[in-house]
Amino acid sequence: METYIFYGLALIGLIVSFQKDKDKTRLALKKSWKSLENILPQLLTMILFISVLLTYLNTGLISRLIGGESGWGGVMLAAVVGSITMIPPFVAFPTASMLLKSGAGYMQIGAFVSTLTMVGIVTMPVEMKYFSKKMTLYRNILAFLFSLGVAFLIKEVTG
């Protein structure tokens, strides 16, 4: 939904820009295309890879791994699964809710949701193209550790 707002903004921006300066607008379009094409191979690799992975790592398997009694082992597993997978929010949150209903614990779901959004192992090649290897690794490791903290606090609040 919010993407339509961005389409609207981009369209208005382009019209205003074109009326002010045609050459600058052409340059802007050229830059847009160049920077998209620049990263396209990495994006395609990432998407195809995750598609194959998600075929085997499905909700049934995940809910068996991170049940409410699975404790910190389950939290670690949930965090790892969340780090590897990349799912759009309109699929991710209903999935998390389904996992809760099929027996996963709040602590585990907290770790899963947090790493799902903050840590991206399959997006790392893309991230490394923009930032350095070291910086990408550090950011993802810190986000992973932080997510374990989130899991603990979620348990304290909801449990």
């Binding site: 919010e2 993407t3 707002i5 961005f6 903004l9 981009a10 820009s17 607008t25 340059l27 802007a28 379009l29 050229k30 830059k31 847009s32 295309w33 920077s35 998209l36 620049n38 990263i39 191979p41 994006l43 395609l44 690799t45 998407i47 195809l48 890879f49 598609s51 194959v52 998600l54 075929t55 085997y56 759009p88 929010p89 991710a92 949150f93 209903p94 809710s97 779901i109 907290g110 949701v113 947090s114 959004t117 903050m118 997006t123 893309v126 991230e127 193209k129 923009y130 350095s132 070291k134 910086m135 550090y138 950011r139 810190l142 986000a143 932080f146 903290g149 989130v150 979620i154 909801t158």
Partner: protein, 174 residues
């Protein structure tokens, strides 16, 4: 063509899977279709706006609002822009590249990435709906200081020289 060798290899792998396990291959193709649709829907306006930003907004303006010395205002703006974003985390990186080119300071850049990853407003709506208000708000309240903490730690862990190199590299990416 050489640049596209990895996607081509994975397509070959899916083809191979199809030989042994038709159902899994179909599922993989289905997943890929969904993810690709999302990508080609979300990315075009982001890149269009980036092109316009690059051409029209002067570096001095960006430095003033989000560069060195922008203080709390810069942190606040980084949070707002990241939270208003649409799309998966990989959409944040090209935006970050243009921000670097325009002189946004490293701390704000990291806060922007953190906000894009977890405090996106549309995402919060989904979370409240699926996991409840208590769960979503608890996470939000922990995430805001967490994002600042991670951003701050990263500025300490990465040396000045490495940050300069990352900024130089952004000239080729944006």
């Amino acid at each position: 063509m050489r640049r596209y060798r990895y996607p081509l290899i994975i397509i070959l792998v899916i083809g191979l899977i199809a030989v042994f396990d038709r159902r899994s291959a179909a599922l993989a193709v289905n997943n890929a279709g969904m993810q690709l649709r999302q990508m080609f829907f979300v990315l075009p306006p982001i890149f269009l706006l980036l092109g316009l930003l690059d051409v029209w907004v002067p570096r001095t303006t960006m430095v003033k609002y989000m560069g060195e010395g922008s203080g709390l205002k810069g942190i606040f703006l980084a949070f707002v822009i990241g939270s208003a974003a649409a799309g998966p985390l990989y959409g944040a990186f090209p935006v970050a590249a243009v921000f670097m080119k325009k002189g946004v300071k490293f701390l704000n850049l990291m806060i922007f990435i953190g906000a894009w990853s977890t405090t996106k407003i549309p995402m919060l709506m989904f979370e409240i709906e699926s996991l409840g208000l208590k769960f979503a708000l608890t996470r939000l309240v922990i995430d805001i200081p967490g994002i600042i903490l991670i951003a701050f730690l990263l500025t300490k862990l990465i040396s000045k020289r490495e940050i300069e190199e990352i900024y130089e590299n952004s000239e080729n990416m944006a």
